[in-house]
Amino acid sequence: MASGVKPRVKVPKKASAGDTITIKTLISHKMESGQRKDKSGNVIPRSIINRFVCEFNGETVIDVTLDPAISTNPFFEFEAKVPESGEFTFTWYDDDGDVYTTSKKIEAS
C-alpha cells in the first residue's frame, strides 16, 4: 500500500538538555495481516509495515520489528533522551519495499 500513508509524530518543540521526553507516533496503514479472507474465500495477501526506527542525530532511540499482530494504523509511544539540540528521524519500512520517513527538530536549552 503506497497510497494514503501518512505518518504523524508528536515531539515537544523544546526540552532542557539531558531531559527525557515522550514521543508518540502514528502512521496510517491498513496492516493487512495475511489471515483474513475476502468474500470469495481467497486469503488477502499480507501487507504490513515490518520495521520502525527512531533516531536522534543518527543514534538509535528505538528499533521495532512489527508482526501482523500489530493493529491497523500502528501507534507507538516511547521515551527518548535529548542530550543536545537536533533532529529526530522516524522511518517506517513497508513489506512492499516502500520507506516512509518524517523528521522533527527539537531545541535543547
Binding site: T60, V61, D63, E79
Partner: protein, 139 residues
C-alpha cells in the same frame, strides 16, 4: 438413547476441550518463539512490567505497554494468535526509559507474554491474561 446428566456433562467437557485445542497448539508455538529469542537460556520472572487491559472489547486494537529497566530488547507474544509474534522492541543508546506502548490484535481471550533481554544477557518474562469480546484476526 436418552441422555443422562452424566452424558451431557461429558459432552460439554468434550466440546470445551475441542475449542481449547487450537489455543494449546499455538501456546507451544509461543514457547518455540521464546526459545528462539533466548537461545534456550533460562527465563526468570520479575524485572519486566507488562501493562494490558483485563478485558478488551475489541480484539482489533488492544493497548499494551511494556517496561523493563536495563533491557536491550523486549519481545511481545500473543500465545493464542494464529502467529504468536507481535513485536520486538530494540532499545538504542538514546532510549530514555526502556518502555514502549502500542496497540495489538488479539484473536481471542489469551495470554500476552513479554520477554525481555537484559544488558547482562539474562532473560525475564511477564504475562497477562486479556479477555477479548470480539476477536481481531478476521477469519
Amino acid at each position: 438413547m436418552q441422555l443422562t446428566r452424566r452424558d451431557t456433562l461429558a459432552l460439554g467437557l468434550g466440546a470445551a476441550a475441542l475449542t481449547l485445542l487450537p489455543f494449546r497448539a499455538s501456546a507451544s508455538l509461543a514457547d518455540d518463539k521464546i526459545a528462539e529469542f533466548t537461545g534456550g537460556a533460562p527465563v526468570g520472572e520479575g524485572g519486566v512490567t507488562l501493562t494490558a487491559p483485563e478485558i478488551a472489547e475489541n480484539g482489533n486494537t488492544v493497548p499494551i505497554g511494556v517496561e523493563a529497566p536495563g533491557a536491550v530488547s523486549i519481545m511481545v507474544l500473543a500465545a493464542g494468535n494464529p502467529r504468536p509474534e507481535v513485536a520486538t522492541f530494540n532499545f538504542g543508546p538514546l532510549a530514555g526509559a526502556h518502555s514502549a506502548s502500542t496497540r495489538i490484535r488479539l484473536a481471542g481471550t489469551q495470554d500476552v507474554i513479554a520477554v525481555a533481554k537484559m544488558a547482562d544477557g539474562s532473560f525475564a518474562k511477564a504475562s497477562a491474561t486479556v479477555k477479548v469480546t470480539i476477536g481481531g484476526c478476521g477469519g
